[in-house]
Symmetry: C2
């Protein structure tokens, strides 16, 4: 049965090849411009072949979507050592902002784009995102315990903070801040805003 095993490995390899190429093209030119044909061209297979490994275009990009979350988790993971909960929260905020600005395409896929997750998938695998949200929730709960944030339901508080951070990043990515009366574009102003936000929240 070794042959069968090898074949299965080969099949997975080809799947990975597709994802690798798709990721490369995606980071170069974004989701919309990365066509099935361009991926096929890149890996030197027929477009039809890709549909033997993925049901639809979205399924390929769901993998990249997951990669993005793994990336964000990696960024978050070694903040646990910060003892002060509020300091940890500040650090998470900074990192989230930096992640969004440095990986706008990943961020887009993860949080802005019309979800590439039709059907059941949504329940079964969205869980990857839970890790990142988990860090936030834990930190928020710590802050609440030490009364560093105004009392409230931890989930509501975490969602509130996330909503703020997401709003900041996504307004920036989609260039909605350029029209404001004052010029608040640029990373400095975004950081100023985040400091203002967190300091205002601090009890």
């Amino acid at each position: 049965m070794a042959i069968k095993d090898r074949k299965e490995r080969d099949k997975l390899d080809r799947r990975k090849l597709i994802i690798k190429s798709a990721t490369k093209l995606f980071l170069e030119q974004g989701y919309e411009k990365t066509s099935i044909r361009s991926i096929a061209d890149d890996i030197e297979y027929s477009p039809a072949t890709i549909y033997l490994y993925f049901k639809e275009k979205d399924e390929i990009f769901y993998e990249i979507h997951e990669q993005g979350f793994r990336l964000l988790n990696k960024v978050f993971i070694d903040q646990g050592h910060i003892a002060d909960p509020f300091e940890r929260l500040v650090s998470l905020g900074r990192l989230y902002l930096a992640f969004g600005l440095e990986n706008p395409d990943y961020y887009d896929l993860m949080f802005i784009m019309r979800a590439p997750l039709t059907e059941i998938k949504c329940n079964s695998k969205w869980i990857v995102g839970d890790d990142s949200y988990g860090y936030l929730l834990d930190t928020v709960q710590d802050c609440l315990k030490h009364q560093l944030l105004p009392a409230g339901d931890p989930d509501i508080v975490a969602m509130t903070i996330w909503a703020y951070a997401h709003g900041l990043v996504s307004l920036n990515i989609r260039e909605r801040l350029q029209s404001l009366s004052a010029d608040v574009t640029g990373k400095d102003h975004l950081m100023q805003s985040m400091e203002y936000f967190l300091n205002s929240m601090k009890v």
Copy 2:
């Protein structure tokens, strides 16, 4: 020269006809599914005709984009009578949230979608959005004057509040809240979040 006038009026009428049809189809089925051909079908003209009145698809949807801002302005405009600045701010927040949830397609076009505003247009006409932002900025300045919000640059403060509200609405529209550990979906939870946010900010 009356004939020429009539002709110009007719031309504007046809332009309006296109926009009207585009709006109808857009609100029925969203941006992506509203094709030039479907608009042409609806108004019983050839697809090519549409390009005599609009340079590109985005130009049509820029009009709808403006309609959206006029709608939001109309919602905001009669909040000026609320005397207490902070109460006014709360009211603006509520209205913004309600607008986003009740008009997700408009909201999408206005604040989420990859901007349908290539080139110069961005400088010349984005100003429509300034009205709505103006209400927010005025209210924020009032709040700062009466020390109802933590001191800070008015533009940064306004942007911070807007970012929060936008984050809340857009995470909801793009269904990113469903994956959270607790079920924070639903208008109630969003309102709870907004109350928590604004109360936390209040000095």
